[in-house]
C-alpha cells in the first residue's frame, strides 16, 4: 500500500512539473503557428524574463510591479523581434527564420547577462518547497506546495490562453494567420499585430515558467536548457497543437519522474536530463506527427 502511495506521489509530482513543460511548449506552439518556425530563442526568453524580473525586484520594485514591468519588457522584446528580425525576413524560408531565432537566443542571453550579471540569483516567491499538511491528512500524499502552485499557475495560464485563442477576435486572427498568412493579410488581418501578440504571449509564458523554475533551483543559465525540454514535449504532442503541448508536457513530466525514481538508480541517477529525449526519439520513429499533430488538410 505504501508502495502504491509512493508511486502516486511520484506521478503527481511529475504531472505538476509537467504543467511547466506544457506551458513552455505552449509558447513554442504559438510562435510555430504564427510563423511556422521553431523558436529556439524561447529558452533564452525564459532566462531573460526571469533575470529581468529578479533585477527589477533588486532595484526595489515591489513584486507585482516588477511582474508588470517585466511583462511590458517582454512585449517590447516581442515588438523588436517582429520589427528587426521577423519583418525583414518575411517570405524567407523557414530555415532562415530558424537560424534567426537561434541568433536571437544568443542576443537575449548576452543582453540578460550584460544587464544583470552572471551569478545565480535566488528568487523567493514566499512559497516553500515543503509538503502541504492538508493533503497529507486527507490523502496521505506528500505534495510540495511549490509544485502545486506551479501546476495551478501553469494550468490557469494555459486555460486563459486557450480561451483567448478560441473566443476572441485576436485569437481568430491568430488561427487564420496560422493557416494562411497571405490569405489573412488579403482580408486585412494585420500580420504584425498578430506577431506582436504571439511574441508577447510567449514572453509572459517564459516569465512565469522562469519564475517557477527559478524559485526552485535559482535563477541561472541552466534555465535555458530546461526550457528546451519543450522540444521533446512538442515532438510527442505535435508542433502545432495546443492540446498536444499540454498532454505532451504532462507525459514528459510524469515519465521522467517515474523513470528517475525507479530506474534512475541503475544509471547512477540524473536521467531526468535525457530520458525525455529518448522518449521523443521513440515517437519520432513510430509516430512522427506526434499525438495531436494536426493532419495536413489538402484538397485538390
Amino acid at each position: 500500500m505504501t508502495e502504491l502511495l509512493f508511486f502516486v506521489e511520484v506521478v503527481v509530482a511529475g504531472l505538476l512539473a509537467g504543467t511547466m513543460y506544457s506551458l513552455v511548449a505552449l509558447g513554442f506552439v504559438l510562435i510555430y503557428k504564427a510563423s511556422s518556425t521553431f523558436n529556439f530563442a524561447q529558452g533564452a526568453m525564459v532566462f531573460f524574463a526571469v533575470l529581468a524580473f529578479v533585477g527589477f525586484m533588486e532595484l526595489g520594485l515591489p513584486f507585482f510591479l516588477a511582474f508588470i514591468v517585466t511583462i511590458l519588457l517582454m512585449g517590447l522584446v516581442g515588438f523588436c523581434t517582429e520589427r528587426l528580425v521577423l519583418k525583414p525576413l518575411m517570405n524567407q524560408s523557414e530555415d532562415t527564420l530558424l537560424m534567426a531565432t537561434i541568433g536571437l537566443g544568443f542576443v537575449l542571453e548576452g543582453l540578460a547577462q550584460a544587464a544583470w550579471g552572471v551569478e545565480v540569483r535566488r528568487l523567493d516567491l514566499g512559497i516553500g518547497d515543503f509538503p502541504i499538511q492538508w493533503i497529507i491528512d486527507t490523502f496521505g500524499l506528500f505534495v510540495s506546495a511549490l509544485d502545486l502552485t506551479a501546476g495551478l499557475v501553469a494550468a490557469s495560464l494555459i486555460l486563459g490562453l486557450s480561451i483567448l485563442f478560441k473566443y476572441t477576435k485576436m485569437g481568430l486572427g491568430l488561427r487564420a494567420v496560422a493557416d494562411d498568412p497571405g490569405a489573412a493579410s488579403s482580408i486585412g488581418i494585420p500580420l504584425n499585430n498578430i506577431m506582436l501578440l504571439v511574441w508577447t504571449a510567449a514572453g509572459v509564458v517564459a516569465l512565469v515558467a522562469g519564475m517557477m523554475w527559478g524559485a526552485r533551483a535559482g535563477v541561472q543559465f541552466a534555465l535555458v536548457d530546461l526550457a528546451l525540454k519543450a522540444l521533446p514535449v512538442l515532438i510527442i504532442g505535435g508542433f502545432s497543437s495546443i492540446p498536444g503541448a499540454i498532454v505532451g508536457g504532462l507525459i514528459i513530466g510524469a515519465t521522467e519522474k517515474v523513470l528517475e525514481v525507479y530506474i534512475g538508480p541503475y544509471f547512477g541517477g540524473a536521467i531526468e536530463g535525457w530520458a525525455p529525449y529518448v522518449l521523443a526519439i521513440f515517437f519520432l520513429l513510430y509516430r512522427p506527427e506526434g499525438l495531436f499533430g494536426e493532419k495536413i488538410i489538402r484538397r485538390v
Binding site: 518575411m90 517570405n91 477576435k169 481568430l172 486572427g173 488561427r175 487564420a176 496560422a178 493557416d179 494562411d180 497571405g182 490569405a183 489573412a184 493579410s185 488579403s186 482580408i187 486585412g188 488581418i189 494585420p190 494536426e294 488538410i297 489538402r298 484538397r299 485538390v300
Partner: protein, 277 residues
Amino acid sequence: MTNNSKDILKIENIEVMYDSVISALHDVSLSVPRGKIVALLGGNGAGKSTTLKAISTMLASERGKVTKGKIIYDGTSVTNQNPTEMVGLGMVQVLEGRRCFGHLTVEENIITGAYSRKLTNSEMKDELDKIYSYFNRLKDRRKSQAGFTSGGEQQMLAVARAMMAKPKMLLLDEPSMGLAPQLVSEIFKIVKDLNEKEGVSILLAEQNTNIALKNSDYGYIIETGNVKLHGTAEKLLNNDEVKELYLGISKQGRKNFRDALRDEVNHKKENKFSKTN
C-alpha cells in the same frame, strides 16, 4: 478621401518586377468604372494575378514591386499602402486558388473577413445573415471545417469572406479555376448579384474568357505583361481575334480553348505548375 470621379480604379502604364529582376508586367493601363465589372483576360503567366496583386499591394509579400507608372484607387495612390490599409479603404482581393483557412469552420472563415471592421454581436449576426442570403450553400455547411468542403464551396467561401470586409471594390482572381461548368455559372451569378445589389465594383481575372465576358461590362486582354486588346464585353465577344485565340472559335468551327492557347503558352507552363493550394 472619397472621390466621385467616374473610375474607381485607374492604372497608368505600370511595370512590375519580381525580385528586382524578373519583369512580369511591362506596360499595363486599365480603368474600372464605379459599379461595373471589368474582366482581365489572358493565358497562363500573362500577368493577371500580378496586376491584381499590384493593386491590392499584396505584391510586396512576394518580393514584387511596381517600378513604373501609377495606380489610383478612389482618388488615392496605392503605392505607399499595405494590404491592411487597402482593405480599410474598401479594396479586397480574393486570391487565386481560394485560400480558405482550412482548420477554421466555414462560419469562422466568413467572420475573419470582418476583421478590419468593428462590429457588435448583433451587427455581426445581420452581416452573416446577409452573406448567407447570397451564399445559401454556405449556410448549411457553416459548422464544417473549411478544409473539408468542396472546391465550389471553398470558392464561394473565399468570396463571402471578402464581402464581409464591406468592399467598395473586389479583385477576383480566377474564380472559375478547377470548377465544373455548372458551379462556375452559379458563382458568376452570385458575383453579378453582389455587383448589382451591393454596388461593389469588380475587377475579375479569368482564363475562362467566355463566361467572364458574358458577365462583364468591359474587358482587357493581356499577353506577356502588355495590354493587347480592350473594349466593351460585347465588342470583345464578337472580335475575330478573340474568338480565334481566346474563345476557341475559328473560322473552321469550334475548337477547344486549351488547344487554341496551348502553342502560345506551352513554354511558360513548366514553372507555373508547381503552384499548390
